[in-house]
């Protein structure tokens, strides 16, 4: 079974159809590229997968869970279902899980992490604190733990710091550990975003234009890192405009134009596809 399956996904903003009946799926361990001209709906798909807004139509399945579906709308008002979550029977709880709209943090808990097109770090916090955010959902201490600091809480704090360090080292940011995120050079900020996403220990990592604004050297390093991340067992879905990156690391490519999927396949094949060429270069004038 596919790790991520997108079925008939549609998103309308008012009269604008940003995503139009898109279907594709992602196998475990794959690197899939999502490309298309500006405004093709790539980032919208990412936001739909990560639960930032619900789709107008269609569904998304991740690892057997239905993580996105159209909101219940009016039906929700008529038949309130929130109490289902308190019913002890497992089948009922699963039904409740299937009906409600999942919030982004719950989707992250299921194993999807992302980076943002415009870098969204916690700018005034240190690199370490930023990466610690990723470990948050894997730990539990609350008010009690904070106030009374029982041994379990102290152990957990040590675990959080240690996990964060691991990903900082992996992304080569050890020298900047206590630096504020906003003081980092641009390329390092991109890496920090990936480190923070990896710290959630995802099974699927979604990268939104990771190479944007990077120079040649940094881009090469990034491609290498993405391969390493994949080899450590994380499936990767990325949006990228830099064709060198896309053609270099993606095993499969999905091309979008005006919200519709116009091509899918290995890089060499997609490159030759006349519809893709037309979408990027426009129609030939006669």
């Amino acid at each position: 079974m596919a790790l991520l399956e997108i079925r008939d996904l549609t998103k309308q903003f008012g009269g604008l159809t940003a995503v139009d009946h898109v279907c594709f799926s992602l196998e475990e361990g794959e690197i899939l590229g999502l490309i298309g001209p500006n405004g093709a709906g790539k980032t919208t798909i990412f936001n739909l997968i990560t639960g930032i807004y619900p789709p107008t139509e269609g569904e998304i399945f991740f690892d057997g869970h239905r993580i996105a579906h159209p909101p219940l709308g009016a039906r929700k008002v008529i038949t309130p279902i929130w109490w289902l979550r308190w019913v002890p029977a497992r089948s009922v709880r699963e039904r409740w899980d299937g009906l409600r709209t999942r919030r982004p943090h719950e989707i992250t808990e299921l194993g999807i992490a992302r980076t943002f097109q415009t870098i969204r770090l916690f700018k005034n916090m240190t690199v370490l604190e930023n990466v610690m955010a990723g470990v948050h959902h894997r730990t539990r201490a609350g008010v009690w733990g904070a106030l009374f600091r029982p041994p379990a809480q102290r152990k957990e704090e040590a675990f959080i710091a240690q996990e964060a360090e691991r990903y900082i080292t992996f992304m080569g940011l050890s020298d900047y550990r206590d630096e504020l995120a906003k003081n980092l050079p641009y390329g390092h900020q991109r890496r920090l975003e990936i480190a923070r996403a990896l710290a959630t220990r995802p099974r699927l990592l979604i990268l939104d234009e990771p190479a944007a604004g990077l120079n040649e050297q940094e881009t090469l390093e990034l491609m290498d890192l993405i391969r390493q991340i994949r080899d450590s067992g994380v499936t990767i879905l990325l949006i990228e405009h830099d064709m060198k990156v896309v053609m270099g690391i993606c095993e499969r490519i999905v091309v979008l134009d005006h919200g519709k999927k116009i091509a899918e396949g290995p890089p060499e094949e997609v490159q030759q596809n006349p519809r893709v060429i037309q979408a990027y270069l426009g129609e030939e004038e006669v």
């Binding site: 992490a113 916690f122 005034n124 955010a133 990723g134 948050h136 894997r138 733990g145 923070r196």
Partner: protein, 321 residues
């Protein structure tokens, strides 16, 4: 100046803490009862400021109805004592609980609001509480006159009579509050609040349950304001709807903002400016509103980050320096 600052920085934190605590204990001894009362009031408002700082400073949520929770705590304590003869000491946990429950009920439906919208709803809530008290809701709050005739506070057989006793009581809870907020700040929960303040969407995408974090900030902050209300009743056996006046909420908000949002020393600086100085210098009291307004305007121009800002906020506001 720089060298003085450098030298002050060399004092170990423990030295500071013990020194300040000793100062706080010894300070009222040479003073007369009036100034001891001023210190007591300062303590109450410092507790209120620290509790509001959890909501406004850490989680970055605007709350301009904090006085309502202060009043709820005070009325809870007063009512339990008047109607059920519960000793005042035992009403304190109930006051915390009642204020916290109201904090939960009020914030749960409005947490998705941001910035100014949230602010408007909290103002409205503060007014609703005040008007409910004025209108003698359920016939138990005594209307505009409020309630009076509560017992004196007795702790372990010791009756608190003089302002000095009450000062030490408030000081004890102030130290407790300080330890608590310091620990909250440096914890998993404290970091979650800061993630929410910095970038809510990124926090959510990293798996932080932002609704829960914001809710906890509201519940803890409100509950602790309830304790401040109960401590007020412990000394002053009269409560009136004036406790929940909008201007009280504004004063609390100013305490947090004047000193520097999110900064614990800042709350003390703010309390000093908003409460202590106007009490000591009478002309400031008569001109209180003008003083408050003037101080806020002057500060927003000269030091938008507050008088004693937290390291983080200073850098947030003074980007280019």
């Amino acid at each position: 100046m720089v060298s003085l600052r450098a030298r002050l920085r060399q004092v170990p934190p423990l030295g500071w803490q013990v020194g300040l605590l000793a100062l706080a204990i010894l300070l009222p001894l040479p003073l007369n009862d009036y100034y001891r009362s001023v210190l007591w009031r300062t303590g109450i408002y410092a507790i209120l400021g620290l509790s509001l700082n959890i909501i406004v400073g850490y989680a970055g949520l605007f709350q301009l109805g904090h006085a309502a929770f202060y009043a709820l705590g005070a009325y809870t304590s007063a009512l339990l004592n008047l109607h059920f003869d519960v000793p005042l000491v035992l009403t304190w946990p109930v006051s915390i609980l009642v204020a916290a429950v109201f904090g939960y009920l009020i914030s749960r439906p409005i947490l998705h609001l941001r910035g100014d919208y949230l602010c408007i709803v909290t103002i409205a809530f503060g007014e609703v509480v005040r008007l409910a008290l004025v209108n003698n809701i359920f016939g138990i709050t005594g209307g505009a006159n409020g309630l009076s005739g509560m017992d004196q506070t007795v702790i372990f057989g010791l009756t608190l009579r003089s302002p000095l006793h009450h000062y030490y009581l408030v000081l004890f809870f102030l130290v407790l509050t300080l330890v608590a907020v310091r620990r909250l700040e440096n914890s998993r929960l404290g970091r979650a609040w800061m993630y929410v303040r910095e970038d809510e969407m990124a926090a959510e995408a990293m798996g932080v349950d932002t609704t829960r974090a914001k809710l906890l900030a509201f519940v803890l902050g409100s509950g602790w304001a309830g304790l401040a209300g109960a401590l007020y009743v412990a000394r002053i056996p009269v409560v009136s709807p004036d406790l929940a006046r909008f201007i009280e909420s504004v004063v609390m908000f100013c305490i947090v903002v004047l000193g520097g949002t999110g900064s614990i020393p800042g709350v003390f600086v703010g309390t000093l400016g908003m409460i202590t100085l106007p009490e000591i210098f009478r002309f400031l009291k008569t001109w209180r509103d003008a003083w408050m307004g003037g101080a806020m305007v002057a500060m927003m121009i000269a030091r938008p980050e507050g008088l004693w800002p937290s390291r983080r906020i200073r850098m947030e506001i003074r980007e280019e320096e």
